[in-house]
């Protein structure tokens, strides 16, 4: 009986000559569901013990408390498990000063290592995941004038790098990266006559990038408000840019309450100092 059992095992071992010598094969015996859920060619190539330390003791005792589960670690410790391999990936470049790192949101808050969809690619899936925590931002996309995120045409990661970027919370535009200009290239410039806040403070100085109740995603409901709040007509204080000489526009006329009726090239002009053309 014992001889036939040993023969059976030997034959089986011969058939399994191509199986790599890794702990995953042993783990599969008890954790079959997890092993099956591993995506092809991704973390399945790794040794389970690379993330789950204490493997050898667990192998003997089969006790859960003897092995590390990153899900049960502090966020920084859980993050270090992933960053042991991924610390220097190109996606992690701005990680150190990122908002997620400062808020101690670990990799496992968004990524499920064992499952096939560990990196969501489809826009609706990405957006649903971000919206689970960023409720306020998701609400802004329900406003009528918005980027087409809820329609599935864009995702949060089109503008934001969730792993980190030098200026957290802010899209990349002001920092010499493409940002808004990757789609709105006609606003890139450089212009012969710049509109200073566009260049110095970015698109968010006048626009709500997520969504707005105001047309053209502006931060004010009427254009005259948008412009006159900076171009106040007063002889400006010595320490602020953005003044302009009085234009004697009569605000009782609808034309003069819509500044862009005349100042058509509001993002910058190559022709007109007053941004008229």
């Amino acid at each position: 009986m014992r001889a036939s059992a040993l023969l059976w095992i030997s034959l089986t071992a011969a058939l399994a000559a191509d199986v790599p010598k890794a702990d995953v094969e042993i783990c599969q015996a008890c954790h079959e569901e997890v092993a099956k859920a591993f995506p092809a060619k991704r973390h399945s190539q790794q040794n389970c013990a690379r993330c789950h330390t204490g493997f050898e003791k667990h192998q003997e005792s089969a006790e859960a408390k003897d092995i590390t589960n990153p899900l049960g670690l502090k966020p920084k410790a859980a993050e270090d498990v992933c960053l042991a391999c991924h610390r220097n990936d190109r996606t992690q470049q701005g990680h150190i000063q990122s908002g997620h790192a400062r808020g101690q949101t670990s990799c496992l808050a968004c990524h499920s290592v064992h499952h096939d969809d560990q990196v969501k690619r489809a826009a609706p899936d990405i957006n649903r995941q971000c919206a689970a925590c960023h409720t306020v931002a998701w609400a802004e996309f329900q406003k009528p004038h918005r980027h087409p995120v809820t329609q599935g045409a864009m995702s949060c990661v089109n503008c934001h790098n969730p792993h980190g970027q030098p200026l957290s919370r802010v899209a990349k535009v002001q920092f010499n990266d493409t940002g808004c200009l990757s789609c709105h290239g006609d606003k890139r410039g450089p212009f012969a006559f710049e509109h200073a806040p566009v260049r110095l403070e970015g698109c968010a100085s006048c626009h709500e990038p997520h969504g707005s109740t105001n047309p053209r995603m502006l931060t004010r409901p009427e254009v005259r408000q948008q412009c006159l709040e900076c171009h106040s007509g007063a002889n400006p204080v010595r320490d602020t840019l953005g003044g302009a000489p009085p234009a004697f526009h009569d605000l009782r006329s609808a034309r003069y309450r819509n500044c862009t009726v005349c100042h058509t090239k509001i993002h910058g002009s190559h022709v007109s100092r007053a941004l008229l053309r």
């Binding site: 095992i9 199986v19 094969e25 015996a29 008890c30 092809a40 060619k41 610390r87 220097n88 470049q93 150190i96 000063q97 400062r102 808020g103 101690q104 489809a122 689970a132 960023h134 609400a139 329900q142 406003k143 009528p144 087409p148 599935g152 045409a153 030098p166 010499n176 990266d177 990757s182 006609d186 450089p190 212009f191 012969a192 006559f193 806040p197 260049r199 110095l200 403070e201 100085s205 047309p215 254009v223 900076c230 106040s232 007509g233 007063a234 204080v237 010595r238 320490d239 602020t240 840019l241 003044g243 302009a244 000489p245 009085p246 609808a254 862009t260 009726v261 005349c262 190559h270 022709v271």
Partner: protein, 599 residues
Amino acid sequence: MKRLAGLLCATLAAQQQQQPEAPTGSAEFGYRAVAGPAGSSDAYRSVVNLGEGPKLFHLDFNAPRPKGKLFDRFSLRADSWGGEPYNTTNFEMGRAAWYRLTASYRNLAQYNRLPSFALGQQALDLRRRDADVELEFKPRAIISPFVAWSTSSGVGSGLTHFVLTANEYPVAGRLDDRTDMFRGGIRLNTRRAHATIEQGGLRFRQTDSWKQTGPNPGNVTTPYFGEPLRLDSLDLRYRIRGTGYYSKLVASLNPARWLDVSGSYLYSRPSNDVDYNDLAGGRLVATQNGAFSSTSRLPHSSGWLSAEMRPHERVRIVESWLTDRLNNSFDPLRWNWSRQQLEGFVDVAKGLTLRGGHRYEWADASARVPKLGGPAATSLRRQVGLAGARFQTGLGLVVNADLEIGRSSNAFFRTSTRDYLRLRGQARMQPLKTLTLTGNWSVFDNSNPSPLGQFDWLSRSTGATASWLPKGGNRFSLWGSYTRASVSSSIPYLIPQSFARARSLYNERSHTVTAMAEFGGKRLRLGAGGSAFTADGTRPTRFYEPVGRVVATLSPRLSAKTEWRYHGFAEPGFLYDSRLRPEGFRAHLWVMALIASLK
């Protein structure tokens, strides 16, 4: 004995795993009917823009482990094709250790024509097409080169104003812009270090042409010294040709177990050459025949350097420095900005982490300003205090709070951030394995003093999200969120025609609800939900988008879907230009679709 049994099971399982997996995929195609819109069709197109007809709503195909040696990963996804306002396609293929090819394409309709904006005389009807292709060689090697190309173009028609002395004339025209960016470089990947050296260039061209044939009285119908003004003809061409190049270096290093360092430097130098011509005829104040040309360049450099030090297992110190500088060669706009930040994190107790730090920003800017327009140069110095905490209980409750208080010497613009307080908090709890609750709140309070009076800005928001997936959501799932937000802004200005003081006030108090509930079984699944947004204040708004759907399983690989959507938009009581400008619309959309899947 346990080990032998495990090896036996593992062997059988490994044999099973080595077989190629079957491809997966699905396609959803059908027809959409639109009842409406009732109300403003321009507003409907500007906000929703969904049309009628046969559609390919969704297509995806994945080959996780295909046969063949050319690739071992292949995936394709396409959404919303068939005359839809937003078409997207994403593609990825590769062979591990050899190459990785990714491509994406997006075709977005940019339609905007609203009665309340620019007297209803400015409009856009464009298609923005963006594509990006990147090919990376030997992605897992120590050195992996890559090349990429991306393009963005906007083509269509528009409506704008041609401005002349004493009048402006709405004219129609053709818009065409395109940016092509080429980039390539190498990535260095080791366990302790990574670097990317990238070189890129862009080519930009824009050709706008505006024409007018036939009489156009413009916006000013009052005679000018007894003569009515009129534009009879216009031929305007705006031709821009631009180039640019950039150099980028990104690097990160882990020289010791307790130290991480990363940094980046980016230098770009775009330039534009412009030719402008216009020829106008009619009853005008003066003959109009203009020709201008200009060349402008914008050298722009930016960089950042950050380090994380871990002197103790409970202590982290993060130091970062950023800088951004630009200089327009034609318009004397110059900007030098830098920021330095030091922050410490301490695990004071199990489940409690405190953080605190300081940020210092300094910047100088100069701009061309007309006479009597104010200072041409100014500087900024800002001190910011940072604090935060993270608390986690054994019950799965996680609370995160963040505080930022900034004080500045001045601000570049009257509405800039100057003296501010930003407070944010988030709580997350998972009382059951199937139930996740999240709450967040934020406050941003900014003030900017000036001799005319202070600019005050206050925004607050509170939101909560719940996600419930009993038994994995097979029979029932619920996802919902609610947000209450308010914005209040006040700043003085002078009325141009009288120099009398006035205040620009902006208030918004909004409520937003989004939800989706699905229930049913394998044969029939029902779903209902959508979103509702209401705002009161300066611009009252109502925007409702409910949705209901039924999905019936016809066979293991075929399902039928019926979906109803409603889009309703209104601005009750909003007066613009002293009279009501109805921009509301209502539309019912019906979709009948088949969903076919490979497995």
